[in-house]
């Protein structure tokens, strides 16, 4: 691009291009139109409406109070809302714990199933089973397994003397978060492994052959070849998992219902809108969740870009 230096060809190009380019631009926009309309309909419009509603006192059952604009009141209420603050903190803790574990375990599993051994195809399929079970079903299954009276976990633990007595993993606030994290890690690690495996498979094999010839150890190969070349896959995986974890609803809902000490942002939002019928307050919470998730994305992208340079 920079090599086109003389003014004459530029002028010629400018004159010649408009017709062709205009036609192509028009065609381009025409082809984009359905996609843009779809994005506008499913993303821009709902988001815009949510932001608009967050400045009103709208109620689900209209008629209780007429809807009017309330300025920033929903947001200032939110700043003093201890339940919301607690929900944000619980969600962030859950996200950090699960994403960290899922990433490390997922990477190990991906490396294992990427190496060639007998029965690799079977292994790759079998590891997906937890991920293939619908979350609500898996959560209910674990809820029963962790039950303090009939749960198989306590039964096994006390029989083998790993546990001194039956423990109410879910009801006891001190182990509630840990148990829900464990279930999420069990369920989502296969998905992380799958994404990372896809990244591992595009790394050219000859790089490793060259490294072998140069006498690099397996560990050196991992740090110098695998990890740097896996960076794009890692970024996608982490963003995917973090966003997913930040908007978690199902496992918590099955495990804890409306309990406050283990409420996530999404559950608090749902209970405000659907349970209490406060659409305005709920919209403000939704916008706040949007901003928090946005913040995480910015952090990831910046960190990764800095790493690249």
């Amino acid at each position: 691009m920079a090599s086109v230096a003389t003014p004459v060809p530029i002028r010629r190009r400018r004159r010649r291009q408009p017709k062709l380019q205009r036609r192509q631009t028009r065609l381009g926009w025409l082809l984009l139109l359905p996609a843009l309309a779809a994005v506008g309909f499913v993303a821009v419009y709902p988001l815009g409406k949510t932001i608009y509603q967050s400045f009103t006192n709208q109620e689900f059952l209209a008629g209780l109070t007429p809807t009017k604009s309330v300025g920033f009141r929903n947001y200032s209420d939110l700043l003093h809302d201890t339940l919301f603050r607690n929900a944000v903190w619980e969600t962030v803790k859950f996200t950090l714990i699960t994403v960290a574990f899922e990433f490390v375990l997922g990477l190990i599993i991906a490396l294992v199933v990427n190496s060639s051994f007998k029965g690799r195809g079977v292994m790759r399929a079998v590891m997906l089973v937890p991920w293939a079970i619908p979350t609500v079903v898996a959560a209910q299954m674990w809820k029963w397994m962790l039950d303090d009276v009939f749960g198989v976990v306590n039964d096994f633990g006390t029989r083998t003397h790993v546990l001194s007595h039956s423990h109410a993993w879910i009801s006891d606030p001190s182990t509630a978060l840990a148990s829900v994290c464990a279930v999420d890690i069990w369920k989502t690690t296969p998905f992380v492994a799958l994404l990372l495996l896809a990244g591992l498979q595009v790394i050219p094999k000859d790089l490793y052959e060259a490294a072998d010839v140069d006498g690099a150890s397996k560990l050196q190969q991992f740090w110098k070849i695998t990890l740097p070349l896996l960076r794009p896959a890692i970024l996608v995986t982490l963003i995917f998992r973090t966003l997913d974890a930040l908007r978690v609803f199902d496992v918590f809902y099955v495990f804890f219902g409306q309990r406050t000490d283990t409420q996530t942002m999404a559950i608090y939002d749902q209970s405000t809108i659907v349970g209490d019928g406060h659409v305005g307050d709920g919209a403000a919470i939704s916008v706040a969740i949007f901003l928090i998730i946005f913040l995480f994305v910015i952090i990831y992208v910046t960190v990764m870009r800095v790493g690249e340079e």
Binding site: L61, L64, G121, F150, H167, R259, V274
Partner: protein, 450 residues
């Protein structure tokens, strides 16, 4: 080749996952099938069926009905009979078992002006909030309303309009194991909460030697509407008021804090630690499997205890709930109504269905097969009803009622109740009452001040 093998294996994994899902789903319905066999007692015929058929035959209505105990089986039996007699097809959809979730479902339907629900099951505390969305039943069902209890009709009348018809009543009771009380030397069920704790402890200590799953007392401790009902009984029976009294929020008082702290100390001692996540189903499952000495529950559980697959058939009875020192026993008023949505496209057919469902014959059928409390007082004298529902005897049925504060919270009832049950659940899970009650107090004050 390799790819095809992978696809096949992935499909196998998915199939395995599906099997797991289905087996989990079916594990939860064990007691549902037991109820099925019991409801075999035939549903009563629809009176005046020919005229109804001529007018509305061929129409289809949707009924959002019961899901607790044998409720759904009963609904299906009655709907099938109604369809057979009148030619009106009734789609029966069970509502969420937690009544606050069921409230939310109706809020969504009404706010969307949805015609997808024709007949809905309405909790005794909802008529005020839903009145604008319900059909006035007075013109067509006014005469039938006269045979129902006056107090409930009053509750279901909002601004002169009869927005719902009483279907069955509910009140909290103490279920106890007669055989175990005798075995451990007790001649009567506990009168006070401290007596309950002591008896439960002694029986549990003895029974756990042979059954490690055995606990003294089970109740509804999950953070949901049921805990509002249970905790109202604890507090009101200890002289701590009804959450809101005479328009003033009273929940933050010493007597309430004392009984709540006592309850908290019993969690994990005479109850399973997990009782703070129990709803009705978990509670009655523990009791009818013979794993609890005492249970707080509604009358519906009586028929489950007497069912063929119950392990405690003939070994239990009911009594009024205990009370605190200086208080007297109370029972929280529950109960369900049937209402017709204003947005229904088949209101005529829907009203005929409600007429049938709230008739004397159907209420008798429901009481006998499902041990629900009839809302028609004259039924209590019926010998067949007396036999099937011994809890209708004066000792349990005439206990003073405690009412949830719906008339003060009005349209904010669901939110206020949530503040209550979330707070109480927090106490049961380990927080001292004195640190939680002031917060509930101020939230309720804001709601009734609005």
């Amino acid at each position: 080749m390799k790819h095809r093998a992978l696809v096949v294996l992935t499909a196998l994994a998915a199939a395995l996952a599906l099997v797991v899902s289905l087996s989990v789903a079916s594990a939860g319905t064990r007691h549902g099938t037991a109820a099925q066999s019991r409801a075999a007692t035939t549903a009563p015929p629809v009176p005046n069926a020919k005229a109804i058929k001529a007018k509305y035959g061929g129409q289809t209505i949707t009924f959002v009905g019961d899901s607790v105990g044998g409720g759904h089986t009963r609904d299906l039996a009655l709907a099938t009979r109604f369809t057979k007699d009148t030619g009106i097809t009734v789609n029966v959809t069970p509502h969420p078992a937690a009544s606050d979730a069921s409230y939310s479902q109706l809020v969504r339907a009404f706010s969307a002006k949805s015609s997808s629900i024709d007949v809905a099951m309405i909790d005794v505390v909802w008529p005020g909030a839903f009145a604008p969305y319900l059909v006035n039943l007075k013109p067509k069902l006014g005469a039938q309303a006269k045979i129902h209890s006056k107090g409930i009709i009053q509750n279901d009348t909002v601004g002169g309009k009869l927005v719902a018809m009483p279907w069955f009543g509910d009140f909290g009771m103490l279920y106890y194991r007669t055989d175990l009380l005798k075995k451990y030397g007790y001649t009567s069920p506990p009168k006070t909460w401290s007596q309950l704790f002591a008896q439960a402890k002694k029986i549990q200590d003895g029974e756990q030697k042979s059954n490690s799953n055995f606990y003294g007392f089970v109740f509804q401790g999950n953070a949901y509407e049921g805990l509002t009902c249970d905790s109202l009984e604890w507090i009101a029976s200890s002289g701590g008021g009804d959450f809101i009294d005479n328009g003033k929020v009273t929940i933050n008082n010493k007597k309430a804090a004392a009984i709540l702290d006592q309850m908290r100390e019993q969690i994990g001692k005479i109850t399973p630690r997990g009782v703070t996540s129990y709803q009705e189903t978990e509670t009655h499952t523990a009791f009818i499997d013979g794993n609890a000495a005492f249970m707080r529950n509604w009358p519906y559980a009586y028929s489950l205890g007497e069912a063929a697959d119950s392990k405690i058939k003939g070994k239990f009875s009911v009594a009024p709930l205990p009370h605190g020192s200086g208080g007297h026993s109370v029972a929280t008023v529950g109960g369900w109504q049937l209402a017709v949505s204003k947005f229904s496209k088949h209101q005529g057919a829907a009203i005929e269905f409600v007429r049938y469902m709230t008739s004397k014959a159907v209420e008798k059928f429901d009481t006998i097969t499902n041990s629900n409390v009839p809302t028609i007082p004259s039924l209590a004298k019926d010998p067949a009803v007396k036999k099937a529902a011994p809890y209708l005897k004066a000792a349990t049925a005439n206990v003073p009622r405690a009412t949830r504060p719906a008339k003060f919270l009005k349209g904010h009832y669901n939110e206020g109740s949530k503040d209550i049950y979330q707070g109480i659940n927090q106490i049961l899970n380990g927080s001292p009452a004195s640190s939680v009650l002031p917060g509930i107090q101020s939230k309720l004050q804001r709601l009734i001040g609005k």
